[in-house]
């Protein structure tokens, strides 16, 4: 066999294979949209962080200049400062309590089984918790990084176990070159299935329920997800996602839709339990 034969055998091998063009294109497009949304979401968060840093720097600069300029200031009423310091959030939830706090905010009377609480390593050995008289929670508690808290748990309201994920993210101030927050936000909000509103000055983005991987070959069916994220003006963000399956990918689909509406998820995301 020579190289020509190799090329011919390769062509012969695949040319008889049926190609599910429509399914592949639909799946690729769905994933592409999701990638675009995630990139836009990241830009919103980083742009918020950049705005916060610029605002803080401006406030410091104004204060410094004001102090130096005071001796030469003309007599008369003091000028009102044009810049006010930008409020910066801090984590309100302890690093090892993220998943437990998330469990406490879920609808009452349900069985909850904590399966993971991540962000960083090492993780602690599994331990059992109990929240509001619910059945014991089997938790893997781990450390959280300085800029991140996250928790995951399986939630069962009697209609099928479902994965719920929460993430609290500090602004990434290392990235300062981002398009404007408004541009990104408006682009993201024009995506199908995405709804945006303003809550306490922050941007609340909800999505779902939508298929997580449209058209992808999934052994147990297509996972469906609903998600809500609140982006604060200083770049902090809190995201809650609910699935109709036991895992984001390659899990078992247990129900038609996630167990909670986007409104319920929004209530969790905007809870004061995460940030102060």
């Amino acid at each position: 066999m020579n190289e020509t034969d190799l090329a011919r055998v390769m062509r012969d091998r695949v040319h008889g294979e049926p190609v599910p063009v429509d399914r592949i294109v639909a799946g690729g497009l769905a994933r592409g949209r999701r990638l675009r949304r995630r990139r836009a979401t990241l830009r919103i968060a980083t742009a918020g962080g950049a705005l916060a840093s610029v605002g803080a720097a401006a406030a410091v600069l104004v204060g410094t200049l004001g102090a130096h300029a005071a001796p030469q200031a003309p007599a008369g009423p003091a000028a009102q400062p044009s810049n006010t310091p930008v409020a910066t959030h801090h984590f309100a939830v302890p690093a090892d309590q993220t998943a437990r706090t998330l469990a406490a905010l879920l609808p009452a009377g349900s069985t909850r089984d904590l399966v993971n609480q991540s962000a960083g390593s090492p993780s602690s050995p599994p331990r059992t918790l109990s929240v509001d008289g619910a059945q014991p929670l089997h938790s893997i508690v781990s450390q959280a990084s300085a800029a991140h808290r996250s928790g995951s748990l399986l939630f069962d309201d009697g209609h099928g176990s479902a994965l719920i994920q929460l993430s609290v993210q500090a602004p990434d101030l290392r990235r300062t070159t981002s398009p404007s927050r408004e541009d990104d936000s408006s682009a993201l909000c024009q995506q199908p299935g995405v709804t945006c509103s303003t809550v306490n000055g922050g941007t609340l983005i909800t999505e779902g329920p939508v298929p997580e991987y449209t058209g992808r070959h999934v052994p147990h069916g297509d996972p469906v997800m609903s998600s809500t994220a609140i982006y604060e003006t200083d770049g902090w963000s809190t995201t809650v996602t609910a699935y109709n399956a036991t895992a984001e990918k390659d899990g078992v689909v247990t129900r038609t839709n996630p167990p909670m509406s986007t409104g319920q998820l929004a209530a969790i995301a905007t809870s004061p339990r995460w940030l102060r």
Partner: protein, 169 residues
Amino acid sequence: MRDLVDFQEFAVARTTPLFRTAWLMCGDAHTAEDLVQETLAKVYLAWGSRRIDNPAGYAHVTLMRTFVSLRRRRMTSERPIAVIPETSVETRSHSGDVELRIDLMAALDKLSAPDRAVLVARYFDDCTIDVIAAALGKTSAATRRQASRALERLRLVLGPDFALEGELR
């Protein structure tokens, strides 16, 4: 909206060749479908944000890079098995193309992801060594050596009767 229509037209036109390339690289239809979807998603991500002079070439390069990257990541998730499935090497018939095709796919399956990507790009997609090198981020010389080694491994797996003649073009 216009870029969505343009992308869909492009995707419909290029999915079949991408899928066939992916099929040869991955060895099965399901993984190939997943790979092409991942590729189209990445192309769509770039579609509206930058100028792509050669969309077909861009998609092909994206496919190759995604394949190598995914295979590298999935190496740790592959499970060892106690007994290696019987291959057709001992009983194959050299008379027909069917056996040859089966042997070839089995032989390709034994190569590393970069080796398969190089051979498929070179012989199925008829890419030049320079194009493959650029896609994989290597020098032309290194890619030529890799292709030669991949061919040599293919010879070893297929056996002396299927030895590839000639040098790499």
